[in-house]
């Protein structure tokens, strides 16, 4: 679906830099929910997510630099948010999940899980979803969240996270498999979240 050129994110940002405050409001309305949910899904802390969310937008407002032509505004925005969150983790001394110990190969085998309709019917509870998500390694969770909330392509996720394309692809595959498995087995999900 092609949007008119003047309504693209880059055009709105240019209009804002040119003095149009309304253009920024449009841009903000377009990305506020996705960015906050991405940050919340990544850190699991609503207060921290909102703080990083605020810093991200303020950083964009105060930055006089223009977005690079080759990079989507959305990629740029989520990259700022991600880097801010990583800075917070570094300052607080928190380890970024279990990604160091996580062996991606152990999830390489096909999962004999039931079909998606059956899975979805079994997992309507939001808490179970969040618990299953938090059980994922941070790197897999990050790829899944960028796909779900930012609606980014794999190539764009690879650029944002500075990760090879094949690695991003495998991380998403493992994340999907594990989520399906966790959501299909409520007992296991509750055990993990406990």
């Amino acid at each position: 679906m092609n949007r008119p050129l003047l309504d693209t994110d880059a055009a709105l940002l240019r209009r804002y830099r040119g003095g149009d405050a309304g253009a920024f409001t449009l841009l903000y309305e377009r990305h506020r929910l996705g960015l906050l949910r991405f940050l919340l899904g990544l850190c699991g802390d609503p207060a921290l997510a909102e703080e990083v969310f605020q810093e991200t937008w303020l950083s964009l407002i105060r930055s006089q630099s223009e977005q690079r032509e080759a990079v989507l505004f959305k990629t740029w925005l989520y990259q700022i948010g991600r880097n801010r969150l990583i800075d917070h983790w570094r300052k607080s001394g928190r380890r970024q999940g279990q990604q160091d110990e996580y062996d991606e190969q152990q999830h390489g085998a096909l999962d004999p899980a039931p079909g998606p309709e059956q899975q979805l019917s079994l997992s309507r509870d939001q808490q179970r979803l969040q618990a299953a998500l938090e059980d994922l390694p941070v790197e897999q969770r990050e790829v899944f969240l960028l796909r779900a909330h930012a609606d980014l392509e794999l190539q764009e996720i690879a650029e944002l996270t500075a990760t090879p394309m094949e690695t991003v692809k495998s991380r998403l595959r493992y994340a999907l498999q594990k989520l399906r498995r966790l959501l299909a087995d409520p007992a296991k999900a509750e055990e993990l979240s406990a």
Binding site: Y16, Y28, L36, R62, A148
Partner: protein, 264 residues
């Protein structure tokens, strides 16, 4: 909607991924607080007020105008403005250079010299000058030749020389320089031809010429007297005849007698 990600398992339906993502989206209900929204929007508006372009110095404003958003259109506008200014300057300078110089700044342009003078004023002046030149036949060609743009300045200088020579009355010097009878005859013929030509012109012009030539009658009679004394009888007779035509109301014979009696 983006195309589903192929997980690499060809037998796995691709809709599986999309269903899971959509399901997750539907259950994500978090949103920023109104206070956060207001703070961010207020900060955006305040930043615009703070970084107003009018507060910048003009070189920086020009730079941001040329290289800021929409710079392609602005470069075109800037280039078109420069081209218009250059074209206007070029046309103005070219027009200015082609204007004739002022009348008092140097020698006139050929086009200005060739312009015809008004007849009632120019003709009597020329006649008077040529009459004076008749007493200085050193340059007879200048009298007979038609006015030429190229020699306009030479003629002007020769006129002034002839006038000064006539008024200082260097009669003897002139006669020594032009002692041959042939030269005198040629000069007399030229004067006669010119008089015949000028007689056909307007009466007003003739009267003006006479008025200008009247003070020189005595000098011309002296010249005639010298011609008679030097033995150039034919030239003297022609000159006398010419003077009688010019001054019919004068008794030239008695005038000559008086002059002859007065001279040593």
């Amino acid at each position: 909607m983006k195309k589903p990600f192929n997980t690499g398992h060809t037998d796995q339906p691709l809709a599986d991924e999309q269903a899971l993502l959509e399901h997750y989206r539907q259950h994500s209900l978090a949103q920023p607080s109104p206070a956060t929204d207001a703070l961010i929007l207020a900060a955006a508006a305040a930043e615009l007020t703070r970084a107003r372009p009018a507060a910048l110095p003009w070189p920086q404003r020009l730079h941001s105008w040329l290289f800021g958003p929409g710079h392609r259109v602005r470069w075109s506008v800037a280039f078109a403005s420069l081209a218009s200014i250059g074209l206007g300057l070029g046309l103005s300078l070219r027009t200015w250079q082609e204007l004739p110089p002022a009348y008092d700044l140097g020698e006139p342009l050929p086009a200005m010299s060739a312009a015809p003078a008004s007849a009632p004023l120019a003709e009597p002046m020329n006649e008077a000058k040529e009459l004076k030149k008749s007493v200085a036949p050193a340059k007879p060609a200048a009298v007979a030749a038609p006015p030429s743009p190229v020699v306009a300045q030479d003629k002007a200088s020769s006129y002034s020389k002839a006038e000064s020579a006539a008024e200082s009355a260097p009669v003897l010097g002139e006669l020594k320089a032009n002692s041959s009878a042939v030269a005198k005859k040629r000069a007399a013929d030229a004067v006669e031809a010119h008089l015949a030509d000028s007689a056909a012109k307007a009466d007003n012009s003739a009267e003006l010429a006479k008025a200008k030539a009247a003070p020189t009658l005595e000098q011309q009679l002296r010249v005639l007297l010298q011609l008679q004394r030097s033995g150039a009888t034919q030239a003297a007779a022609a000159e006398l005849e010419r003077l009688q035509l010019l001054y019919p109301e004068h008794d030239l014979a008695s005038e000559l007698a008086k002059l002859r009696a007065g001279q040593p």
